[in-house]
């Protein structure tokens, strides 16, 4: 079982390494996008799947990451990707710590609404501060450099892939540490956790900051991919997409968000190429998921596996 899983991951990574050499250029672009979305979805699921917190303002941290890159390039002229990425980690951590501190004491729908409100506040700010952010026009993101080398499509792809692998390992590790188990206990029964000595607010806050940091990293990688940032990156509807990806993939499984991000990116690309009714299809998929597969693709996979296992026994 363990070995099977390891082989599965290995094959997945080999396919990711090989595909830019065999597939068309556009596929490399799509894969880069999917990997970035996967980092974001994993970050989001630290809160939703593991701590049981539903955030509606997660575009904020993604947007902060993206804007940190764009603003630093525009106003300070920093073009080195490693410094840009580090700065995004810091800025999203700071904003996440601030907003998180104000939100985590509230639960369920109040928490969701507060995160939404803060997200929209920063969206409006980005929109209105024209002299800094160029408002709705957004900011161009000229090509940065990685360790002095031009951030070409290939280098960008492998950089994103490396960040994706490292982030996945770090997040997996954290979620399987005593801290991660404590988050799950909080998800299941915050009051019981409090009565065995867990300072629930503190842990929720830490989870929130962690989630913000990885979301910010995803945003920082996304900015050079699109070569342009707009306030839409901070809009709650954009943040809704990450929730969507996590639900498609399955929030109760660790790999669910990764699968959701890939499926979403490719389905979106395919559907928007053929019809303008993408939002309708998006809605229909969501309805099917909620009614038929409440635990997403991974939930369905586990069910099938269980069913096959039972049949084998008889």
């Amino acid at each position: 079982m363990k070995l099977k899983e390891a082989i599965g991951y290995l094959i997945f990574i080999i396919i990711l390494i090989m595909s830019p050499f065999v597939g068309p250029k556009y596929n490399t672009f799509l894969l880069t996008k999917a990997l970035i979305m996967a980092i974001w979805a994993l970050a989001y699921n630290i809160l939703l799947g593991y701590t049981g917190m539903l955030s509606f303002g997660h575009a904020l941290y993604f947007g902060v990451g993206a804007y940190t890159v764009a603003l630093l390039i525009k106003w300070i002229g920093i073009r080195s990707m490693e410094i840009l990425l580090l700065s995004s980690i810091i800025s999203s951590a700071v904003i996440g710590a601030l907003v998180g501190f104000l939100c985590i004491r509230y639960i369920a729908v109040y928490f969701a609404l507060l995160t939404l409100a803060f997200g929209q506040f920063f969206f409006a700010l980005t929109y209105k501060l024209y002299w800094i952010t160029r408002g709705a026009d957004g900011l161009p993101v000229p090509r940065p450099y990685l360790l002095g080398i031009k951030f070409t499509m290939m280098i960008r792809y492998f950089f994103v892939l490396a960040i994706f692998i490292v982030s996945t390992i770090i997040i997996w590790w954290i979620l399987n540490s005593p801290f991660g188990k404590t988050l799950q206990a909080i998800r299941e029964n915050p009051s019981r956790a409090e009565f065995v000595g867990v300072n629930v607010s503190r842990y929720k806050w830490l989870a929130f900051i962690l989630s913000s940091i990885f979301s910010g990293m995803a945003g920082a990688l996304y900015a050079p991919l699109f070569a342009h940032v707009t306030p839409d990156f901070l809009h709650w509807a954009f943040g809704g997409l990450v929730l969507y990806m996590v639900l498609i993939g399955g929030h109760k499984s660790f790999v669910g968000p990764i699968i959701g991000a890939f499926v979403f990116t490719y389905v979106e690309n395919y559907v928007t190429a053929h019809t303008i009714y993408w939002p309708i299809i998006l809605g229909c998929i969501l309805i099917i998921i909620v009614f038929a597969f409440p635990n997403g693709i991974m939930g369905a996979v586990y069910k099938v596996r269980e069913w096959v296992g039972k049949r084998k026994r008889y």
Binding site: W173, S177, P178, F179, S191, V196, G197, V198, V200, Y203
Partner: protein, 255 residues
């Protein structure tokens, strides 16, 4: 002076009103170390409220709770738990979506101060595993360690709730009806485990209980509550002979 050292918990002038209802209305008592004290009384006497006040779930309107010389009256629950007061709940409170094993690992991690650790992997922590297994053996839940807590039968969930309290290695446990809904044979077992912990590990227990058989055979001391006040306080023998207690409580509502 010797008396002071033997006291683990001191409650004085404790009051909690819910609007017109005087749930706890000026309660005073001191609990000696390594004893089992039962709190009995009719429904609505304020027993659960009293436990909630001690464990920090509710803040009193007046009065003081002192635990091992420390004023804990206004402390949040997690700090009180860290000081060594574990509790279980009248309505089972466990982690339904986690396995029985994980349910026990959480309080052990908390007690060891490991819950903050992000760099180690939980599965590799042999010490936590061993201690969890020990507690599970003690409560007869070892065979069910991989079952989700939400899928256990009621009696086992109740046991698990109590086991979580004991996994904290507390100096004082507050048990709110630990044997309600537990099978007759298991009732004795639960109480034996609690008694063993009290006698061997130096735990002190305060138990709210409705089963008078259990109360009279395991308690060192019984506090009888009625309408938020203490009606009687003494050894099981004394309480049995108390005429007032007989009419108010033992007479009708409970037995």
């Amino acid at each position: 002076m010797g008396w002071e050292e033997k006291t683990i918990l001191e409650v004085s002038g404790l009051k909690k009103y819910f609007g017109e209802v005087k749930a706890v209305d000026g309660v005073n008592f001191a609990i000696k170390k390594e004893t089992i004290t039962s709190i009995i009384g009719p429904n609505g006497a304020g027993k659960t409220t009293l436990l909630n006040l001690i464990s920090g779930m509710l803040k009193p309107d007046a009065g003081k709770v002192v635990f091992m010389g420390k004023n804990i009256t206004k402390m949040p629950p997690y700090k009180i738990a860290k000081l060594g007061i574990g509790r279980s709940f009248q309505l089972v409170s466990v982690y339904d979506g986690l396995t029985v094993f994980d349910n026990i690992r959480i309080p052990i991690l908390s007690r060891m101060g490991k819950t903050k650790s992000m760099v180690s992997l939980l599965e590799r922590d042999v010490k936590v595993k061993e201690e969890a297994n020990e507690i599970l053996e003690l409560f007869g839940l070892f065979d069910k360690k991989d079952v989700l807590a939400g899928e256990l039968p009621h009696g086992d969930r109740k046991l698990l709730d109590v086991a979580i309290a004991f996994a904290l290695n507390p100096k004082l446990v507050l048990l709110d009806e630990p044997t309600s809904g537990v099978g007759v044979r298991e009732k004795r077992h639960v109480m034996d485990v609690i008694e063993k912990a009290v006698r061997e590990k130096g735990v002190t227990a305060i138990i709210v209980e409705h089963d008078m058989d259990i109360v009279f055979s395991y308690s060192d001391r019984i506090i009888v509550m009625h309408q938020g006040k203490i009606l009687a306080d003494g050894s099981p023998g004394e309480i049995k002979e108390n005429e007032e207690v007989k009419t108010v409580i033992l007479g009708g509502e409970i037995l």
